[in-house]
Amino acid sequence: MAENLTVEVVSPEKRVWSGEAKMVSARTLEGDIGVLPNHAPLLGVLVDGVVTVKGADGSSHDFNIHGGFISVSNNRVSVLGESTD
């Protein structure tokens, strides 16, 4: 899979992180999910916790998301959090 995910992590006050990634893993109300490229469109409510973004350059970023959700469509992943740090 040559394609990458375009990931945005945003809070109400600013865009926390954006860039290309290989994988995003998060925990929704139903359980842990990992999002890889070409994932089906998804809207999920996140439980408070850590969202991990594996960057295309091999780096890994952890975000503490509180009161957020994740939306996936056309290889675009948006992680919205009421507070992120």
Binding site: E8, E13, R15, T28, L29, E30, I33, L42, V45, S71
Partner: protein
């Protein structure tokens, strides 16, 4: 120095002092507009994503969520009015209050009772002075709102909205918001919008078909947790735009005050000059008259 001249000089000094203050306020506001605009821009990715997501859920699921379905016989509506804490901003606060009054009148014509929720000291004072009921008020952050403030406001509004209007005294069936939209540095217009039940009109998301989403855990749950966020984001955006508008209105008001002071100083200078000239003329004619009288008196005694 003559009395007239002294009065003019005193007035000029006071106008000059005022001018310095208004000039300073103008410059401060000018720098704050930029900051406020940046905050509006910084909050838009979140707001756009939320709007997109809410539109997706609301249009793809057939869930009858209380936040999206209009009440059959609405009894009461909440009106949130966002104004400034401080004055010196021209008609900014008044324009928003007037827009709110108009909205309240239309709502009353539809037979709804209204509950006023106020942000900003100006609106609170206006309502207090007229002895109108206030359902909730928040002051102290109008020029620099944070998300926590928006959350505080939205929590109370959502609580009132979710409560049954026939059973609970402060329950409402509709939620309206009045804020000042920041269109440009020169144009800011007060706007009244219905926030709930939802009308997803201003979708800034790119047009085109939305993908068929999978919802996790299910559409109803997603909507449940999305909509409060959506209201918060809307309130936050309204607050940020109002803050930017407030600064712009203040800058404009202070600019015209500074211009007026300039004008006033100019005309006072003219008057003071004329008074000084008149004083000199009078003094000379007095001296000449005195010398004449002395000369004629001494001529007669010889």
């Amino acid at each position: 120095m003559g009395a007239q001249l002294r009065v003019y000089r005193r007035r000029m000094r006071s106008v000059k002092a005022t001018k310095k203050i208004t000039k300073a306020m103008e410059l401060i506001s000018a720098s704050r507009i930029v900051k406020a605009q940046q905050r509006v821009a910084a909050s838009s990715p979140y707001a756009n994503e939320l709007t997109r997501a809410v539109t997706a859920v609301a249009s793809f699921s057939s869930t009858n969520h209380p936040l999206t379905t209009p009440h059959e016989s609405p009894r009461r509506a909440a009106v949130l009015i966002i104004t400034a804490d401080r004055g010196m901003a021209g008609a900014y606060s008044n324009a928003a209050i007037k827009e709110g009054d108009q909205l309240i009148t239309t709502l009353r014509e539809r037979g709804l009772a209204t509950e006023a929720y106020l942000v900003g000291r100006k609106a609170v004072n206006y309502y207090r002075f007229r002895n109108r009921a206030i359902a909730g008020s928040w002051t102290g952050f109008s020029d620099n709102p944070t998300y926590a403030h928006a959350k505080e406001v939205s929590d109370l509004l959502i609580q009132a909205f979710v409560a049954d209007s026939s059973a609970v005294a402060n329950g409402v069936d509709e939620l309206h918001i009045v804020y000042t939209q920041f269109k440009s540095m020169i144009t800011q217009t007060p706007e009244a919008r219905r926030m709930l039940p939802l009308e997803v009109v201003e979708s800034t998301a790119p047009a085109g078909l939305l993908p068929m989403y999978e919802f996790e855990p299910n559409a109803g749950e997603v909507l449940n947790s999305l909509l409060p966020r959506y209201v918060e984001a809307r309130v936050f955006n309204a607050m940020l735009q109002s803050a930017a508008s407030e600064h712009a209105a203040r800058r404009r008001a202070m600019k015209s005050a500074t211009d007026n002071a300039d004008e006033l100083i100019k005309s006072l200078t003219r008057l003071a000059n004329a008074a000084r000239q008149a004083e000199i003329t009078q003094e000379i004619s007095e001296i000449v008259g005195g010398a004449d009288a002395l000369a004629s008196a001494s001529a007669g005694s010889e």
